[in-house]
């Protein structure tokens, strides 16, 4: 029997507000443990939460970017459970009246597009961090745990998709698109390694052509796109084997071990979850008036689709270029900054897509870490357009700029790369080349004009590649026709 994977994602996004969700402690990754805490985020007796306005605005931005419906009223609940990283013994979260519901996000792969439904988007708070002491660094076998409350109370948005995803590749593409959207919205740094973007996946299989959902497992904490895709593939394979052997999938939480590539069940808690949700009496309801929603909508930054369209209509770029450039907000911002200093959109696009992205890809580097600034690129392009260096030389210079961080001017000067366009200087070289190669001169004059390439090559060799090819061509034709 053929099986179809059914995947739903639960994504947690830490918002990059200045202060925490319910208190004024700074939001920041890491740092000396327990230096960004207060009575509220340490849950001291008597301390009370007060909501961060910016977090709610960011939440609304996310909801709108995912085409969600925002009900007029949402409330907060207490989700009760004990864990050392949860100081109050409950998490303030949203339950049956979330901030936003019923959205979607369209994903385009090369060969398919899909509209992934968003079930809900809600606000909650992050937990503290457990540091497991002992040999392994993992929970199992640790002698004790250390708790750092710096992260406690960081605004956290949960996004839950409908089970509309049917392949690991699509899951990855969704997460990628979501991340890009969130970066465009400027609501989170989405750093998966630091945990500001976290993804859990619910996976089940069902016979192709059926509608009923199979028994699902939950794959926890995929901390990179690659692991998400690989872990899902692995879990789908595991379930497929079970089903094909006539066995049953057990509903449980599983762990994907990145090193071994193995899936293993997490030891389940002794009792079933009974979170005893009830309305948080320390907070009052959130009412998203039409006016508020409109204000947020007006303040929304340009999203990828809009930017893509603008690149085509305003800059006259091909759709393909527009898609590649806007696939990441960082790249698009880079492109536009360079374009502000060098007014040939297609040329900038070619260089960003061809040279810059290729370099980052090969080097495995993030754009934020790239040593060539948009201004640096623009400067280089000016040198090429002015004829100081050839396009090919320009590419070499760019590569060196990436490696060394030096400017185009510095590299060109240091390596003496400036083109020779001076006719008198070139005349001398050309005269010598003609004199040294009488046979080829004969051939040319006999009508074999292609030989001119040979002469150009010789001139380049003599000048160390610095001769301006356009000028050389012209002079050669003139001299050979004499």
């Amino acid at each position: 029997m053929e099986y179809e994977p059914v995947i739903g994602l639960e994504i947690h996004v830490e918002l990059s507000t200045r202060s925490k969700m319910f208190c004024g402690c700074r939001v920041k990754f890491g740092g000396v443990p327990n230096t960004r805490t207060c009575p509220v985020c340490l849950a001291h007796p008597g301390a009370l939460p007060v909501m961060n306005r910016q977090a709610i605005t960011n939440l609304a931005r996310i909801a709108l970017s995912l085409d969600c419906e925002i009900p007029e009223r949402s409330i907060f609940h207490r989700k009760n459970y004990f864990y050392p990283d949860l100081p109050k013994g409950y998490q303030i979260s949203q339950y049956d009246q979330p901030f936003a519901v019923d959205g979607s996000l369209e994903i385009a792969l090369e060969d398919e597009t899909a509209r992934i439904g968003i079930e809900r988007v809600h606000m909650e708070e992050d937990t503290a961090k457990n540091i497991h002491a002992g040999d392994s660094g993992r929970i199992a076998g640790s002698l004790y745990s250390m708790i750092d409350f710096n992260r406690s109370g960081t605004p956290l948005v949960e996004i839950v998709t409908r089970p509309h995803i049917h392949s690991p590749r699509m899951a990855r593409a969704f997460l990628n698109r979501l991340k890009n959207t969130l970066l465009y919205l400027d609501v989170s740094d989405c750093n998966m390694e630091e945990g500001s973007l976290r993804c859990d996946a619910n996976v089940s299989l069902r016979p192709v052509g059926t509608d009923e959902l199979g028994v699902k497992t939950e794959l926890k904490n995929m901390n990179s796109f690659k692991h998400l895709e690989k872990g899902l593939a692995q879990e789908i394979e595991r379930q497929r084997e079970l089903l094909e052997d006539g066995e049953r999938v057990v509903q449980q939480t599983v762990h994907y071990d990145v090193a071994s590539g193995e899936i293993s069940p997490l030891r389940s808690k002794e009792e079933a979850h009974d979170y005893r949700y009830f309305p948080e009496p320390d907070l009052v309801p959130l009412v998203a008036s039409q006016q508020f929603v409109e204000e947020v909508r007006r303040g929304m930054p340009e999203l990828p689709e809009a930017r893509e369209q603008r690149y085509v209509s305003e800059f006259g770029l091909p759709l393909y270029d527009a898609q590649v450039l806007t696939a990441s907000r960082e790249v698009a911002d880079y492109f536009e900054e360079a374009l502000g200093l060098f007014d040939d959109a297609k040329l900038v696009s070619n260089w960003v897509m061809g040279e810059l992205l290729a370099f980052l890809n090969t080097a495995g580097q993030e754009l934020s870490a790239c040593r060539v600034s948009p201004a640096g690129l623009a400067e280089l392009l000016h040198r090429v357009r002015d004829g100081d260096i050839s396009a090919n030389t320009g590419k070499e210079v760019f590569a060196e700029m990436c490696e060394s961080g030096a400017s185009a001017a510095e590299i060109i000067a240091a390596r003496g790369l400036t083109q020779i366009s001076d006719e008198s200087e070139l005349e001398a070289v050309i005269g010598q080349v003609i004199e040294d190669n009488p046979d080829q001169v004969e051939q040319y004059r006999g009508g074999k004009v292609k030989v001119i390439g040979f002469f150009v090559g010789q001139v380049m060799k003599q000048t160390g590649g610095r001769a301006n090819p356009k000028v050389v061509n012209e002079l050669l034709r003139r001299r050979l026709s004499e």
């Binding site: 200045r18 700074r26 960004r36 207060c38 004790y144 030891r267 009052v284």
Partner: protein
């Protein structure tokens, strides 16, 4: 109406450890309290709105401003077991 099983389950959820002899006492006391409390089930409250708050307040928000945090010494001062600037707890098992 509340039996040992219920008492055990609830105590476990609330992270309270009860001695065997306490199970009887709690089962008995909770039953008698619940018997009285069950009076509210006589009421037919179909259509009555539940009230979680007497105040008619909405949207109480603070500006996104950073305030001074406690210094770590103060944050840790009441900690029963503190080491290297962090709160220490026995090993976490079962998750």
């Amino acid at each position: 109406m509340v039996d040992h099983e219920d008492v055990r389950y609830v105590a476990r959820l609330a992270r309270l450890r009860l001695e065997p002899h306490e199970l009887d006492r709690y089962a008995e006391q909770l039953s008698s309290i619940l018997k009285h409390i069950n009076k509210i089930s006589e009421l037919d409250l179909e259509g009555t709105e539940p009230m979680s708050h007497v105040l008619d307040l909405t949207n109480v928000l603070r500006e996104d401003e950073v305030h001074d945090s406690l210094d770590s010494e103060e944050a840790l001062a009441n900690g029963p077991d503190v080491e290297d600037g962090a709160f220490r707890v026995p090993p976490i098992i079962g998750e």
